[in-house]
C-alpha cells in the first residue's frame, strides 16, 4: 500500500498505550524538546537506523516500567519523557551512539 511513512508510523500507534498526544486530529507538543524527540525517532526509523516496530516495543516497555513505578500518583506523567527515554535506548541499541558520548555532551 502506498503511504507516507510518517502517517503509517503514527496511525500504527493509535489506540495503544504508546499513543502520542493529539489535539483536534493534529499532533501536539508541549515544548520544542518534545517535538524534537518525536521528529528524531520518526526520522531515524525512516532512515532505517532502527525498525519502527522495535522502537515502539521499547516505548511500550518504558511506559509500562513507569506505570509500574507509579501505581497511584501519576501526576508527574509526561508522555514525551517516556518517548525520550525509549529513543535514547533505541539509538544505543542501534549502535550509533555510545551512552558515554551523551554523558560527555551533557557534562560539557
Amino acid at each position: 500500500m502506498l503511504t507516507q511513512f510518517e502517517h503509517f508510523a503514527i496511525t500504527e500507534m493509535m489506540g495503544k498505550t504508546d499513543n502520542p498526544p493529539r489535539a483536534n486530529g493534529s499532533l501536539c507538543f508541549g515544548s520544542q524538546w518534545e517535538r524534537s524527540s518525536f521528529g528524531m525517532a520518526l526520522a531515524l526509523a525512516k532512515n532505517g537506523i532502527f525498525e519502527w516496530d522495535d522502537f515502539r516495543d521499547e516505548l511500550i516497555s518504558t511506559i509500562k516500567a513507569w506505570e509500574d513505578a507509579h501505581p497511584v500518583d501519576r501526576s508527574t506523567w509526561n508522555y514525551y519523557d517516556q518517548f525520550l527515554a525509549a529513543l535514547e535506548k533505541a539509538v544505543v541499541k542501534a549502535g550509533i551512539i555510545d551512552p558515554e558520548e551523551i554523558r560527555a555532551v551533557l557534562a560539557a
Partner: protein, 205 residues
C-alpha cells in the same frame, strides 16, 4: 539509560538538554541534519491534516455549487482549492465526500487506519480502529452517536459509510445556524475532525 528516569525539579530543562545532546551527536555523525526534524514534522503540521478538511468544508458552506461538485467528484473539487500537493495522491486519491442535510446524517467507519482520509482529517482517533466501535456503529449507529453526545432524532436518517481501500469517506457537516456573517476563515475554525467523521456536528463557536 543515562540515569533511570527520576522526578527532578528541573526535569523540563534536563529533558531539553538531553534532546539537544542527542540531536547534536546525530548531526555531528552525519546521521541527520539540522533540518531533519522540521522536514519530518512538516508533513503533519502543514501538509496533511484536518486543516485541509476544514478548508474544504468551509468552501462548501459558502459556495453551494462547490458543495455539489465536491460530492459528485471529490478529487476534482479538492483540486480546485489551493491545498498542499499530495492531496490527490497516495491515500488522497480515493476520497469521497458525503454531505449532511436536514434529513440525513452521515457517519464514517473503518477498522483499518489505512482506510481513513488522512490528507483531510489528520490522524484518526484511538477508538476509530476499535472493532467494537466499527461493529456497533454499523449495527446501531443511532445508539453509538448518542453515546458520543450526538442524539440524532428518529426523523433523520443515518447513513453509515464504510471506508475501504477503494473509497475513503468524509462528511461535510451542515453549516451551523448563526454563522451567516462569518468569513470563510472564521468558518474553518468551526470544522472539527469529529464533525467530518460524523460523530459530531459543527457548532457556531
Amino acid at each position: 539509560m543515562i540515569d533511570r528516569f527520576q522526578y527532578r525539579e528541573d526535569r523540563e530543562a534536563y529533558s531539553a538538554a538531553r534532546v539537544k545532546a542527542l540531536e547534536a551527536l546525530l548531526i555531528k555523525k552525519g546521521i541527520i541534519t539540522d533540518k531533519t526534524v522540521d522536514t519530518v514534522l512538516d508533513f503533519f503540521e502543514t501538509k496533511m491534516g484536518p486543516f485541509n478538511g476544514a478548508k474544504i468544508v468551509a468552501r462548501a458552506w459558502v459556495d453551494p455549487s462547490f458543495k455539489d461538485r465536491l460530492v459528485t467528484d471529490t478529487p476534482a473539487a479538492i483540486a480546485e482549492l489551493n491545498l498542499p500537493e499530495g492531496m490527490a495522491g497516495a491515500e488522497g486519491e480515493h476520497m469521497r465526500a458525503v454531505a449532511n442535510s436536514p434529513d440525513v446524517h452521515n457517519l464514517i467507519i473503518c477498522t483499518l487506519c489505512s482506510c481513513y482520509p488522512w490528507p483531510v482529517l489528520g490522524l484518526p482517533p484511538y477508538w476509530y480502529k476499535d472493532p467494537t466501535f466499527r461493529s456497533r456503529a454499523a449495527r446501531e449507529p443511532r445508539a453509538v452517536l448518542g453515546e458520543f453526545g450526538l442524539p440524532v432524532p428518529e426523523a433523520i436518517e443515518i447513513k453509515v459509510w464504510d471506508s475501504s481501500a477503494q473509497i475513503r469517506w468524509f462528511v461535510v457537516p451542515e453549516r451551523p445556524v448563526g454563522t451567516e456573517g462569518m468569513t470563510e476563515a472564521e468558518l474553518e475554525a468551526l470544522v472539527t475532525p469529529e464533525a467530518m467523521m460524523g460523530v459530531a456536528i459543527a457548532k457556531a463557536a
